[in-house]
């Protein structure tokens, strides 16, 4: 009986240490996983530069692979918006192919708004407008975007993107 107890004690101490370490690690991970306003501002600068440089691969890297990407596309003739859910590769494809076929691409971003969320993520709202010449016509798109930024493997990425979009 005494032997058993000693054996238990011998195991219990390292186990307790291990649990304690896990707990501390968890707290640290939780702190590291939150996105601060400064982080989000840096992210948004990066996002703008990726779009300005038309770097599709880098745009892909800014979006979580399983990100929820939903576009409410404004319809003509006062019809209700149509809602589309896109996988990441199709979302990036839309931008990439526009850059490929378009000429004189110009982008503009309005002042972004940052709202930290209780779960450590951060909501970023902005409006981006892209104008281009496409097949000889002046066309473009305006996206009122709401992004949820979070961390994956230490990097800040877009976890959700909801956009009210207009193509013309």
């Amino acid at each position: 009986m005494t032997g058993n107890k000693q054996r238990h004690m011998r195991w219990r101490t390292p186990l307790a240490w291990l649990l304690a370490l896990c707990f501390i690690g968890d707290v640290q991970a939780s702190e590291n996983s939150s996105v601060s306003r400064q982080d989000a501002e840096a992210f948004f600068r990066q996002y703008q530069s990726v779009l300005a440089e038309q770097a599709a691969d880098r745009l892909t890297a800014l979006i979580a692979e399983d990100a929820e990407l939903r576009i409410a596309l404004q319809q003509p003739d006062n019809e209700p918006d149509q809602l589309f859910t896109l996988p990441r590769h199709r979302f990036v494809q839309h931008r990439r192919t526009l850059w490929h076929f378009g000429r004189e691409v110009r982008q503009q971003f309005d002042t972004p708004r940052y709202t930290p969320q209780p779960d450590g993520t951060l909501m970023l709202q902005a409006t981006e407008t892209e104008r281009h010449r496409l097949f000889g016509q002046d066309t473009g798109q305006r996206n009122e975007i709401t992004l949820t930024l979070g961390r994956r493997d230490g990097d800040i990425v877009i976890l959700t993107l909801h956009s009210n979009s207009q193509l013309w």
């Binding site: 596309l73 319809q75 003509p76 003739d77 019809e79 149509q82 809602l83 589309f84 859910t85 896109l86 590769h89 199709r90 494809q93 839309h94 192919t97 526009l98 490929h100 076929f101 496409l134 097949f135 016509q137 066309t139 193509l167």
Partner: protein, 335 residues
Amino acid sequence: MTRNLIVALALTLALALVPGSRTAYANPTRTVCVFSLTGVHGEPFDTLRDFALTSRQLGVPLTLRPITNERIAAEDFQAGQCDAALLTGMRARQFNPFTGSVDAIGGLQDYDGLEMLFSALARPELSTHMRHGPYEVAGLLPLGAAYIFLNDRRINNVSKMAGKRLAVLEHDPAQQMMALRIGAQPVSADVSNFANRFNNGAVDVIAAPAAAYMPLEIYRGVGAHGAVVDLPVAQLSLQLVLRHERFPPGYAQQAREYFLEQFPRAMRLVYAAEDDILFFFPPPDADRYAYDQLLDEARIALTEAGHYDPLMMRLMKRVRCTRQPDRAECTDDRE
């Protein structure tokens, strides 16, 4: 004894001289009419060129004859001017309704399902279905899904297709029926001119694989205000059809296994082509189910009308239900 030997030799010689009695080994070089819009350049000609090397190892050297007009390729094959032909599944349907139904409307919605189907078709157990009269399908290659290309994004649901001019391939009654079903105005076309008609505004809507997008400059027809619906309407294929009596026994089965191995190679091209499409949007979330239902109803109606092979439809349904057991159709008995 000597007399018997002489008689046997005489009979052998006589048989060899009778037209039609020659075996596949008498003159092993065989001609393949290869439908290829781009002639000897690029795919699918390159794949056939590689297959010709394998075929030589199987004892059948091949002469490849590129033909840019599919109708002519099929007619030359039917007239016996070629021993085999590489044709689209829709065109090959006349030679084998079973495999020719792989391209059925709404048949399969993803490429994993298509690979599953092609793997099944390459199994020896299904070899009897690969033969139809004098013809045998000796290989299938994916050409990619057919998508709907629109010249106007305001055509944002099926009901707005009503009255629009829709190019339909003249040799595929299924497309004409589908056009009428959605109230569109079918405009007869063929593989060599449908894209031009779309690009110059003679038609508003076409269905095409992504592989045609860049070579045929379909982006010009879509323009700045069109769209491409990211929903596979049908899975298009290329099929090698041969006159089986002109090939050694077992050749077609070996060829089918060869072409199955080429599936990933063909898919790399398909994915690359799909990545190039501008304004490639899925159906709106709210309409997704309605689109699926429309395609399912069309396929069932076309099967009932005799355009698609019922056994292939059952096989495809089994694939769909293996991949997505919660589909509503998996509990019904309609296919």
